[in-house]
Symmetry: C2
Subunit: 319 residues, 2 copies
């Protein structure tokens, strides 16, 4: 079976990837469309020491499941697979289970394959109104929605998103559904269609110490220091970047200004699907290119270009 | 007039420090007892680029004030002096005023002097039940109480304080008034008398990823990384260390485990005074030594010794 693997060298499509028998509770899925995330690129640089099939953003068709009702349905899936038995799973769900696997990131082969498995309880049906090209954004859009679960945002909040890459733009669009105005700070102004109340700004022109909430989505180890410079006293910085490098940062200003830094990872799929279904967010103009799975290596290379928009990988089950 | 100054070289007592005329709204104070803080030592290493009279922990007698009711009273004082006119002062008080001065730290001569000035509105009367030796701890004790304003702590919270220096011990004692059990992690177990529900633990024996709340009070640029290692998923780390050096830290675990890091500085004097007045906290056993103001340089040197407890500087107004 064809799959895009990382085994320590260059990520490459192999033709002979072997899928083990489907375990009880797992659904077998056929890839319709996958999305390349910066985390995939970080993994290829050594992040998480992952080996195996890459990919965690997907829309797929259910091929097999314990419950036949699911077979043939179009789904997206939460990527954290918990034990469903420990205290953490009971209290906080699978995202923080200490023995979890994570699709294409930690101990579990990912979605950039003709077929792959994920627990049935992780799946969400995709409404008919949401196309494959929109649904493939659910995982990163849910990660953006996570911010609204963690931090209070009001219409009057002074909100900045630092980093105008794919995740930064999604965060800005989500926050703009609540805040009256969102400032998106990055290197590529004008590249993306954005909601009307998202105002783009070059980093050099961004006002210092002027925001109540700063989302750090740069993907860079310099991101936290830049975000702290934008934060007003008593502000909150939400840290989204996961990268392999260490951050070097003066933390005395964080103490003096009593800044709160909140790590933020995966979020609610239902909320993301609702935003897509009612058309409040349409990420499809952010798609840069689409490659067949057989050309997965080229897809990763395209996604790695500076300023690249979302690159998709199409499986055989796609429309 | 005698004062302990830092002018870029070694901090030293000068005999000819000139005190300007008292401004309207300010009280003139005579030092009874001052406490040496690690921040004083950091300032002598270049932190905050401060020049002038050191010292911000004190108990004093009011010599002059616009309101004669205050003259002769024994007081402690909040160290942040705001403009009392801006939006920040109106919303958050003086602590975060963008044009504030801070006693002995930023743009305002400090308390290690025969006489010094502070706005009358910053002063708090010391109850008769609180001795000078206890009252001199109010400023750092208030900083410890600040944690309870910022973070929810329950009887069942798994709480660790990292760093068993003076501030760490105060934080542990304050948290032990709320949490059922507090683990104090440091290099000097057994040095300090502590509340019964504060359990000391060597750093090497501290369980990883086991605490819901970790107070970082190491005074070291390695402190944040150590604190993150102790924090359970979704935990909160309160950062108390202000130091001149950069922290170098892998922040991916902060994002993955969705840790919240909260900068924490100055706190409520009334709460600290209440803890001392009702005897719930008695910091007097933590006093290592007491020097007359004339020997202020020796006091700083004593406070700089590794593991030093609280060093006091006695003014002429003291008992």
């Amino acid at each position: 079976m064809r799959a895009l693997r990382f085994d320590g060298g260059e990520p490459a499509v192999v033709a002979d990837h072997v899928l083990p028998a489907r375990a009880r509770g797992e659904a077998r899925l056929a890839l319709r469309l996958g999305g390349v995330c910066n985390t995939d690129l970080e993994i290829a640089r050594g992040y998480m020491a992952f080996r195996g099939v890459l990919g965690h953003e997907f829309v797929a068709t259910v091929l097999e499941a314990d419950d036949p009702e699911w077979v043939g349905r179009r789904v997206v899936g939460e990527i954290n697979c918990g034990c469903a038995a420990c205290d953490v799973c009971a209290t906080h769900g699978a995202r923080h289970c200490p023995v979890r696997t994570v699709l294409g990131i930690l101990g579990r082969d990912g979605a950039f394959a003709e077929r792959f498995d994920l627990p049935l309880r992780n799946l969400h049906l995709v409404p008919a109104a949401v196309s494959d090209e929109a649904a493939v954004f659910v995982e990163p859009l849910a990660a953006a929605c996570r911010i609204l679960e963690q931090v209070g945002v009001a219409a009057t909040s002074r909100v900045a998103v630092l980093g105008d890459g794919k995740l930064g733009a999604l965060c800005a669009a989500v926050l703009a559904t609540v805040a009256g105005r969102v400032t998106l700070i990055g290197r590529h102004p004008g590249r993306l269609p954005l909601p009307q109340n998202v105002v783009e700004c070059a980093a050099a022109a961004a006002p210092a110490r002027a925001f109540d909430l700063v989302i750090e989505a740069t993907g860079s180890p310099q991101g936290l220091a830049q975000a702290l410079a934008l934060a007003a006293p008593l502000a909150t910085v939400v840290l989204k970047t996961t990268c392999q490098a260490k951050h070097a940062v003066h933390l005395a200003p964080l103490v003096i200004d009593e800044i709160t830094v909140v790590g933020s990872r995966c979020g609610p799929f239902d909320r993301a699907l609702a935003l897509l279904a009612d058309g409040r967010i349409d990420p499809r103009p952010w798609i840069a290119a689409r490659y067949p799975l057989a050309e997965g290596g080229a897809a990763l290379a395209a996604a790695a270009r500076p300023g690249a928009l979302k690159v998709l990988i199409a499986g055989a089950a796609g429309s």
